[in-house]
Amino acid sequence: MDVFELLKRIRLFWSRIPEQVQRLSLLAVFFIVLFIPVRNLLVPKDFGKYGHYRPSALEEAAAQEITYAGHEACYECHDDVVDTKYHGYHKTVACETCHGPAAAHTEDPDVELPAPRERGYCPLCHEYLASRPTGFPQIVSASHNPLKPCIACHNPHDPVPPHTPAECEACHAAIARTKAVSHHVYVPCVRCHETPEEHKVSPRQHRPSKPATREFCAACHAEGATTELETRKVDLATHGERYTCWQCHYPHLPGSR
């Protein structure tokens, strides 16, 4: 079949189509042809490189300016402060948490960073709030040396209380309150918990001991022990022999069950 025959056939087909359909289809062809260059013009060349979106949007997001330099940047010049901080309670607090964004300062050291010295700043973390986790050091600033700036007594890079509280209850208040109303009120904490002196400085690295055996309680509570008459005594052989004592008795409030 040659080209002329094909053309003849197409012309024949075309002439058989009703005129209104002919016009409409011409219009459709015109729009389809127009659509292709318009689409090429509007859609970015690399569209769909990563997914159905403009890939340079990723690069634009990545090109945003950095203002926080990151905790590693400070060490280069301020290694002494970073080292001090590393061994203190503020180990996990990044320099920029208090001193603000430092990217400009790392570029040009003449750009000075603020150091919050006023009394209002430290309470952002250390003011007493009922919602803060137990054990997190908190104060009530209205009664905690009012008007005195925090840094008069505490070094923010190595914050330790000026005097470590001697009493256990300074930190373990909830246990101390329970024990105060129990039969064990006169038993000092250290009789059961051997506490290394370092526990006051780094409480989690140097933990106090905990009694591990039935025999420990038995030293006071077994029949024949040399404690006062009022102390409850039990026969170790028959009293809950398969259990350790604190599975039934809470040592800080032994009366409860």
Binding site: G51, L58, E60, A63, Q64, G70, T92, L129, S131
Partner: protein, 265 residues
């Protein structure tokens, strides 16, 4: 019709010739696809952002330890500074909520100015049964409803799992703000485009942690790779009892919470 004409006719319109033509037609349909595919292969090494960051090699997520959060709001401050978020008290990419479960079951949730200046004591302490802080941000859902509803395809999930907004394509119609079940989006008052947490895309693509993670004084926020075993986030997921927000919506968030309370939503 004579025999020769019959054979000629069969050659032209017979079954064999029909199948032959059909095969050619189908094959010609596929040709442009093959060409396009070979084009893509040539492009493959270019799939790398400036600075040798390949988004295909990463998959980011965040872990938040609720029992470590002290509600100081340093993350909120850091986020606003880093990303030039408007300072008004209703535009936040991240914010901290305080949950207080009261005697009798009432749950009081507040977040004064996103907790940028921490919180105050405004309720009788003896009425509080339990209480904690919940830092919130875009959950970077794996099946994000905000991406689904965007009529112009301006918001999308990047290859490293971060949900981003193309501000040039965004028409500010606020569908995505409505669709987000976590309320993590807002309309920027000046650009009039949708804005949200980007996991600090400009920082993570340069090997830095997001600003909120950097600023957190108690390391309540952990940021890292979801698909690499050695990442701190994977360790966080192994060591904690983690939960996600609104699991019933099947949005598959990539922000995980340790010690998540049932009352949090």
């Amino acid at each position: 019709m004579n025999q020769a004409a019959k054979i000629e006719n069969r050659k032209r319109y017979g079954r064999r010739s029909f199948v032959k033509k059909l095969l050619f037609a189908v094959a010609s349909l596929l040709v442009p696809r093959f060409l396009a595919a070979s084009d893509k292969l040539k492009e493959a090494p270019v799939w790398i952002l400036a600075g040798a960051y390949n988004p295909n090699e990463h998959y980011w997520g965040m872990g938040i330890d609720i029992s470590k959060c002290i509600g100081c709001g340093r993350c909120v401050e850091a986020c606003k500074v880093e990303n030039q978020v408007p300072r008004d008290p209703f535009f936040f990419r991240t914010w901290v909520e305080r949950y207080r479960i009261m005697e009798g079951g009432e749950v009081a949730v507040d977040s004064p100015n996103g907790a940028i200046k921490s919180f105050g004591n405004d309720r009788e302490e003896k009425d509080i049964v339990r209480s904690f802080f919940v830092p919130k941000l875009c959950n970077h859902c794996d099946t994000p409803p905000c991406v689904q509803v965007c009529p112009v395809g301006a918001t999308f999930k990047s290859p490293d799992g971060v949900i981003l907004v193309d501000a040039e394509y965004c028409i500010g119609c606020r569908y995505c703000i409505q669709a987000c079940p976590y309320g993590a989006r807002f309309l920027h008052p000046e650009t009039r485009t949708a804005e949200k947490c980007t996991f600090c895309y400009h920082r993570i693509s340069k090997g830095l942690a997001p600003a909120c993670v950097e600023a957190c004084p108690t390391q309540a926020r952990v940021f890292g790779e979801l698909r690499k075993k050695a990442s701190p986030l994977q360790r966080f997921l192994r060591m904690n009892k983690v939960g996600i927000l609104k699991p019933s919506l099947n949005t598959e968030p990539k922000v995980y919470y340790a010690d998540l309370d049932m009352e949090v939503n």
